[in-house]
């Protein structure tokens, strides 16, 4: 394959944003009939490279050769017309339109000035067939599963002249079966000679489907490898740039810590709480210095429980005891006053205030608990912000950068800093590692363990069982808006939890 000419060849591509060098001269090659993964931590420059290739950003330097000619796309539309099709991470479809309308939105074929519905429907069916999907294209998009919607998104960008397909995190919201279906389609397209660029955080998938891997770290090019020649451990090593043995030693640390703290009193106790339509009756307790994991599928009631505890939703009934005292938590500010903190699942809409600076985002909850009049002096604010930027290794030019300019993992760290600044006794983390690369994931897990060692309690919610088990001393299992079981000790195994979720106790 090395003798073939690549369809895309980028050399020495440079791009900087105010205060950050996102790419400092990286190379990238993509061949026809291959599936290629770009790997790297958050902020490594994967998205930036894709955006330069597809014409969203303009490169500061370097060359791009596409189909043998030097070119530089000015707009995504231009790139698409030339045959580079991209499906971005956030699927931008309209659930209230039909499948066919979604596929042809903005480029409807016309006949005598009117939209040619017959053609739209038949063409849509044809396009989907190519992806092994045969469905009624006149039905609303929302009536189909996320997997089908993902296929529709791909069908929308594919046209006959497409030669390159770029998929940014296509599998993050798919289940196992759906991933298999997607991969079948990708393999089919590959056999037709399509060049596919695949970005994901799931290592398993990279090894299952890709032929070649390019690794970036901190905006620099680390190397290009054939997937079969690169063992996983080495890949992680190249992405992270540090030794992995320190990371695998972590679980033990956590368990030791729990056995030390067993005798200490309960920090939070919930008795018979429920809310109609959101969560069936449940009870739970959290000890001081312990990590309680929440496991369960999406929509099983994990997040709903966290929202009830934190006073975002009001329960119909139930008692809440904080340090053995009956308390009434009817709003987040009540909860914060009692030493609770909550990092929500949806970072973008419920977490960060994107146009405010890193500093303002960090001090927000602390200032909220102080009230309007006791405004933290600017010097104090700077000190707090700098302290946490350093402690959590937040990658930002300075504390005055708008938080939206940071990468996902760093935004998550800003949120952690916001809550740590309030010195909470119980921190609820809802999917703190979603959409974050391996390195940042380890950092956040490490952070969880080190803080519970210092006496902070943590409720850790995650879809990744392996991660929940790694950090938690006890795991509450949820299914269908019900807390069905609590596992600890020797029962804390992935298999056991899965059986419990499946109902085969």
């Amino acid at each position: 394959m090395a003798d073939l000419k690549p369809i895309v060849e980028m050399k020495g591509v440079k791009k900087s944003f105010p205060g950050v060098q996102a790419l400092s001269g990286v190379d990238f090659r993509l061949f026809e009939g291959e599936i290629h993964a770009i790997m790297g931590q958050n902020g490594a420059g994967k998205s930036t490279l894709i955006k330069i290739l597809t014409g969203v950003y303009k490169a500061d330097g370097g060359s791009i050769v596409y189909c043998g000619t030097q070119c530089r796309f000015r707009t995504p539309l231009e790139a698409q017309k030339k045959g580079i099709s991209t499906v971005y991470q956030e699927v931008n479809l309209c659930p209230n339109l039909s499948v066919a309308e979604n596929i042809f939105i903005g480029r409807e074929p016309r006949r005598f000035g009117m939209i040619d519905w017959n053609k739209i429907n038949s063409e849509s069916e044809k396009l989907l067939k190519r992806l092994n999907v045969s469905i009624d294209v006149t039905k609303l998009l929302s009536s189909y599963s996320v997997a089908i919607q993902q296929m529709v998104a791909i069908a929308r960008v594919l046209c006959i002249s497409s030669r390159v397909l770029i998929l940014d995190e296509p599998t993050s919201s798919l289940d196992e079966q759906e991933v298999n279906e997607l991969f079948e389609v990708l393999n089919k397209l590959k056999s037709e000679g399509m060049a596919i660029l695949f970005v994901t955080h799931f290592l398993d998938q990279v090894y299952r489907i890709t032929d070649r891997i390019t690794v970036f770290r901190n905006g620099t090019f680390v190397g290009e490898y054939l997937t079969k020649d690169l063992p996983r451990v080495e890949l992680i090593f190249k992405m992270v740039g540090k030794d992995i043995s320190a990371m695998s030693a972590m679980p033990q640390k956590c368990l030791e810590n729990v056995s030390d703290n067993k005798e200490i009193d309960s920090l939070l106790e919930i008795k018979g709480m429920k809310k109609h339509g959101s969560m069936n009756e449940f009870s739970l307790d959290v000890q001081k210095g312990e990590v309680l994991g929440f496991a369960g599928l999406l929509g099983s009631g994990r997040t709903e429980t966290a929202r009830l505890i934190f006073g975002i939703d009001k329960p119909d009934q139930g008692e809440c005891l904080v340090k053995n005292e009956l308390k009434n938590i009817s709003s987040p500010s009540d909860a914060i006053e009692l030493g609770l903190a909550f990092c929500p699942e949806d970072r973008k809409t419920e977490g960060i205030i994107d146009e405010l600076s890193v500093r303002e985002n960090i001090i927000l909850a602390l200032q909220g608990s102080l009230g309007i009049m006791k405004y933290l002096p600017r010097k104090k604010q700077d000190k707090i912000a700098d302290e946490y930027i350093k402690a959590l290794g937040i990658k930002t030019a300075d504390a005055e950068c708008e938080v939206r300019t940071l990468s996902g993992g760093n935004q998550q760290k800003v949120l952690l800093a916001r809550w740590l600044a309030t010195k909470p006794s119980l921190l609820i983390l809802d999917e703190p590692t979603r959409g974050i690369d391996v390195g940042a994931k380890f950092e956040i897990q490490e952070f969880v363990m080190s803080h519970c060692k210092e006496g902070m309690s943590i409720i850790f919610i995650s879809s990744e069982l392996e991660e929940v088990i790694r950090v938690s001393s006890r795991v509450a299992v949820f299914r269908d808006r019900q807390k069905i079981s609590e596992l600890s000790g020797n029962d804390l195994k992935e298999e056991k939890i899965m059986h419990t979720i499946a109902g085969g106790q």
Binding site: F310, I312, S331, P332, S333, A335, I336, E337, F342, P344, T349, E350, G351, I352, I353, D354, E355, L356, E360, L364, A365, Q367, G368, S369, L370, G371, I372, M373, K374, Y375, L376, R418
Partner: protein, 362 residues
């Protein structure tokens, strides 16, 4: 050597511009300066300020005095807009505040032995406080509808905008109440140390607001609510209360303007007091650089925005070549251009076109 000096000066100027653009004041200040410059060219005596009867007089003083209504409303409106809201009821609240104060002071002309006696129905402080309280309460009504009932700001305040004029007319029994109580005239028409009293009122409100913005977390919370209400609530800040008080403050500002209008006109007209003022106030806020989408806000920008609108009006009137019937159109065109130039995406587009042309010619 001379080159180095020039470089230094250029650097300083560039530094000033970056600082000004970061504070959001660059464009408003440039436009205000341009308008003043045009005036100075047309009317050489424009910047002259003389003392007549112990009072400062001149075009600049006049513009400042006349713009006090817009500026006060714009200050209140800035906070509302920063929370991603809008308050189109302020004009009606001005009318109500004017009606309340006129009603409480009373519209009777009392003449004893051929000398006019200044008699008020209620003591003047009572009338003033009542008018301000009612205006604030009306603002809170808006705030309650928006923060507690979840109404869209434009709908909630539209209700009061329509109903408010009716309320004002009910208070004045459909009449225009004329006031004969002289001490009351001082608020809107009086002079203190040679400067119109209304300018002091604007300065006082501005000082309080700037103090709150600098020394309390109010600014942070308001911006945060405007950018992301949900996330702000999750961070333990009572978003609803902030929204409530922001509208209450806007009502309060409208209350002050009602007093100024009533005092200056020596009468309260439920139909016309504060008519269309909400639009000028919103325009001042936008000219000042605050986005209607909420978030970052610029109090001083709104103040300059108010000055721009007033000086523009004055300028258009003073140019003889513009026929009176064309005034509104000319004003609209200028405002349109100003808004375009202030829009960052428009500037980028223009810059892009010019840049491309340069490239092609190379």
């Amino acid at each position: 050597m001379a080159g180095l000096k020039l470089k230094n000066i250029m650097g300083k100027i560039a530094g000033f511009f970056t600082a000004a653009s970061r504070s959001g004041l660059l464009w408003p200040v440039i436009f205000f300066g341009l308008i003043l410059l045009v005036n100075a060219l047309i009317n050489p005596g424009f910047f002259d300020i003389e003392i007549k009867d112990g009072r400062l007089s001149g075009s600049l003083i006049d513009i400042m005095n006349r713009s006090s209504y817009i500026i006060l409303l714009a200050i209140g409106m800035t906070f509302v807009v920063a929370t991603a809201g809008i308050d189109i009821s302020v004009g009606a609240v001005v009318a109500i505040s004017a009606a309340v104060s006129a009603y409480l002071i009373g519209g009777t002309l009392v003449v004893e032995n051929g000398v006019q006696q200044y008699v008020s129905f209620m003591p003047m402080p009572v009338a003033i406080i009542a008018a301000l309280l009612i205006a604030t309460a009306l603002g809170m009504w808006n705030g309650l509808l928006i923060s507690r009932m979840g109404l869209q700001p434009i709908i909630a305040t539209l209700i009061l905008m329509v109903a408010g004029r009716g309320i004002a007319q009910l208070i004045t029994s459909g009449q225009i109440i004329t006031i004969y109580y002289k001490p009351f005239f001082f608020i809107g028409g009086g002079y203190l140390f040679g400067i119109p009293f209304s300018i002091y009122i604007v300065a006082a409100v501005l000082a309080v607001v700037m103090f709150l913005k600098k020394r309390t977390a109010l600014g942070l919370f308001i911006q945060s609510v405007g950018i992301n209400k949900t996330a702000t609530r999750f961070a333990g800040i009572n978003s609803s209360n902030i929204i409530l008080w922001v509208y209450a403050f806007s009502g309060f500002c409208a209350g002050i303007v009602g007093l100024l209008v009533c005092s200056n006109n020596k009468s309260a007209d439920g139909n016309n007091a504060g008519y269309n003022m909400e639009l000028d106030a919103i325009l001042a806020v936008v000219l000042g650089g605050t986005s209607l989408a909420g978030g970052k806000f610029y109090i001083m920008g709104s103040v300059i925005g108010g000055l721009i609108i007033q000086s523009l009006t004055t300028t258009i009137f003073s140019i003889k070549e513009i026929k009176p019937e064309a005034n509104l159109v000319v004003k609209a065109v200028i405002v349109f251009v100003v808004c375009l130039i202030q829009s960052e995406s428009f500037r980028k587009k223009v810059a892009g076109v010019i840049f491309l042309r340069e490239k092609k010619s190379l």
